[in-house]
């Protein structure tokens, strides 16, 4: 074991954690504003990655073209998802919202399996074979770009939530629904935007990860496991908490993968989640939306 090895693990962990954060923040945002747990969230991430693959492999898109197209489509899908399905649920129908999004997840995942089979595919872009050397460690360029995309997304989300009217309204609804409704915020506009942003974030995550790992229809399903654990660890509905927990988990998993077997690495998220629930039931950073 040497220092370079650990640095390499840290870098990989950071990248992984940032991608976790993209998915988990969207999940947490949707829960904070709508009180809906979106079980189909992983499938949107999977569809975005598949879309990225088909755009680069089939339609001749470059890296950036594919990322922008996939993200834009994801945001639109979020709008449609809210208008067609989620709008029909009342605030108190928590179990129904799960069944609904679970049904949607079944349709998307098995539909994808039927169309594309479970075979993993590699996404190749113009950057695939380039690397960046950072002192003692080196990283493929597509990984560094994934970090860049994640950071751009975080900054834009922060700006939207803190410096636009509708973003402030979104935070208002999440913090105190009744008070927000009383001051004249239209819950429909806010909810629609939250779902669009949430699904859009998982779209960015899918597009950013497609060139890094292989893509296949079951990838969203496996990812959701981590995302849910992160959301609980960070505090249900706490978007910033989810981001911090995600990066921390990514780094811990990466370090663990250097020294322990696979089951320990993958079980880590679950064990941490149960520990957090037993010691601090409202999550490390408390429930309620803080962005």
């Amino acid at each position: 074991m040497n220092v370079d090895f650990v640095l390499q693990l840290l870098l990989n962990g950071l990248i992984l954690g940032l991608i976790y954060a993209l998915v988990a923040m969207g999940l947490s945002l949707i829960f904070g504003v709508l009180e809906i747990v979106n079980f189909a969230h992983g499938e949107f991430y999977m569809l975005a990655a598949m879309g990225c693959y088909f755009l680069t492999a089939g339609a001749g898109f470059g890296y950036w073209g594919a990322v922008v197209a996939v993200t834009a489509v994801s945001v639109c899908v979020g709008f449609v998802l809210y208008e067609v399905l989620l709008r029909r649920l009342g605030g108190r129908d928590f179990e129904r919202s799960i069944l609904l999004t679970l049904g949607l997840s079944m349709v998307l995942q098995n539909g994808a399996l039927y169309l594309w089979t479970a075979t993993p595919r590699m996404t190749t872009t113009q950057y695939t074979y380039e690397s960046v050397v950072l002192g003692p460690v080196q990283a493929p360029l597509v990984r560094i770009l994934a970090v860049v995309l994640a950071v751009i997304s975080f900054v834009s989300l922060y700006l939207v939530l803190h410096h636009t009217r509708v973003g402030k309204a979104m935070r208002g609804v999440a913090q105190n629904r009744d008070a927000a409704l009383m001051v004249g915020i239209d819950p429909r506009v806010v909810s629609r935007l939250a779902v669009a942003v949430g699904v859009g974030l998982s779209g960015v995550a899918g597009a950013a990860l497609a060139p890094v790992y292989s893509v296949h229809p079951l990838m969203g399903f496996a990812f959701l496991f981590k995302a849910f654990a992160i959301v609980i660890i960070g505090g249900l509905g706490n978007v910033a908490g989810a981001a911090i927990a995600a990066v921390a988990l990514g780094i811990l998993e990466s370090l663990a993968s250097g020294f322990f077997s696979l089951v320990v690495v993958d079980g880590l998220a679950f064990v941490l989640m149960i520990l957090v629930l037993l010691v601090r039931p409202h999550g490390l950073f408390g429930g309620g939306v803080r962005v």
Partner: protein, 320 residues
């Protein structure tokens, strides 16, 4: 619904007579599938329809029962009966831990944590090779022997024998669950689901009732898994396949959460239907997903809920 007990008795009589009439293995395989899903769906109904907790860990309990039994029999030389019982208890313990940890926070957390637990089980089954043999699982499980006092030992081989065993098991479990649902315990569970603070103000402790329902449900579900893997003669990570969970959910949601007969009817219907819909398994699950979405949007109470609404209308008319 009033004729349901009579119908069930008739169906049971036919089911019990089958082994003396038919030699067709296909019918027995279908029959034992119905028995397994009747147990799984009714177990979920106790947790979701009665206690109001959407447990997505049912498939985990099923698989823990399957793996637990197989490991006890193959690696430790136990006989099947005690192995099934103990593996069921293992599922119960897992269920209680998940429920106790998450219910301190909320029902929301319970649903999420139960799903994460199911996913964890897939990972453990696949990656903890020294315990579970990894992705290939444990093939070639021995055909078990059941020794009851006073009877010659019964070596189970082939679908017919497993059909008989699972039919006996399913009837026993359904009688147990029916009794729990219909007695004061079931009524209290329903009350807690309908209005938790009111139930508390009447001195009921929701956590105790909820832990009880999870524990019982996990136990019967785990034991069903333990018997089922010996019919399959293999246990591998596909025992945790979400196909089982999604099918259970469809049965409970369409049949009507909280309705014993509605869910039982739906379990029989949806166990038989895959043989009628002979297209790809992926497309079948797409269809199930659409059914789930449609059921949630169009009939929140399931089929049983529609019947109940008719009864309600009669009361409203009588009031005028």
């Amino acid at each position: 619904m009033r004729r349901a007990p009579a119908l069930a008795t008739l169906a049971l009589a036919i089911a019990a007579a089958l082994p003396f009439l038919i030699g067709d293995a296909y019918i027995y395989t279908l029959g034992l599938t119905i028995c397994v899903f009747a147990v799984l769906a009714s177990g979920l109904n106790l947790v979701y329809g009665f206690a109001g907790l959407l447990s997505l860990a049912q498939v985990a309990f099923f698989g823990i029962g399957g793996y637990g039994t197989a490991i006890l029999v193959v690696d430790h030389g136990w006989s099947m009966g005690p192995a099934v019982l103990v593996a069921g208890v293992l599922a119960t313990v897992a269920g209680l831990v998940v429920a106790y940890a998450s219910l301190r926070l909320s029902r929301h957390a319970f649903a999420i944590v139960s799903l994460v637990f199911s996913l964890l089980c897939v990972i453990v089954a696949r990656d903890w090779v020294s315990l579970t043999r990894g992705p290939m699982g444990m093939p070639g499980l021995p055909s078990p022997t059941i020794a009851l006092p006073g009877l010659p030992p019964w070596q189970l081989s082939g679908p017919r024998d497993f059909y008989i065993l699972l039919l006996v098991y399913a009837v026993a479990v359904l009688l147990l669950l029916y009794r729990v649902m219909r007695c004061r315990i079931g009524r209290t569970l329903l009350a807690i689901r309908q209005n938790e603070p009111l139930a508390q103000s009447m001195g009921q402790n929701p956590l105790a009732y909820r832990l009880f329902s999870i524990g019982l449900s996990a136990w019967v579900t785990g034991m069903a898994g333990g018997i089922f893997v010996f019919h399959l003669t293999i246990v591998d990570p596909s025992i945790f396949d979400f196909y089982y969970l999604e099918t259970m959910l469809i049965m409970v949601v369409v049949g009507g959460p909280g309705s014993f007969w509605g869910v039982l009817g739906a379990a029989v219907f949806f166990s038989a239907i895959p043989d009628l819909l002979r297209f790809s398994a992926d497309l079948r699950l797409v269809l199930y997903g659409l059914v789930l979405i449609a059921a949630v949007l169009a009939m929140p109470g399931g089929v049983a809920g529609l019947l109940r609404r008719r009864r309600l209308r009669r009361w409203r008319e009588a009031r005028r």
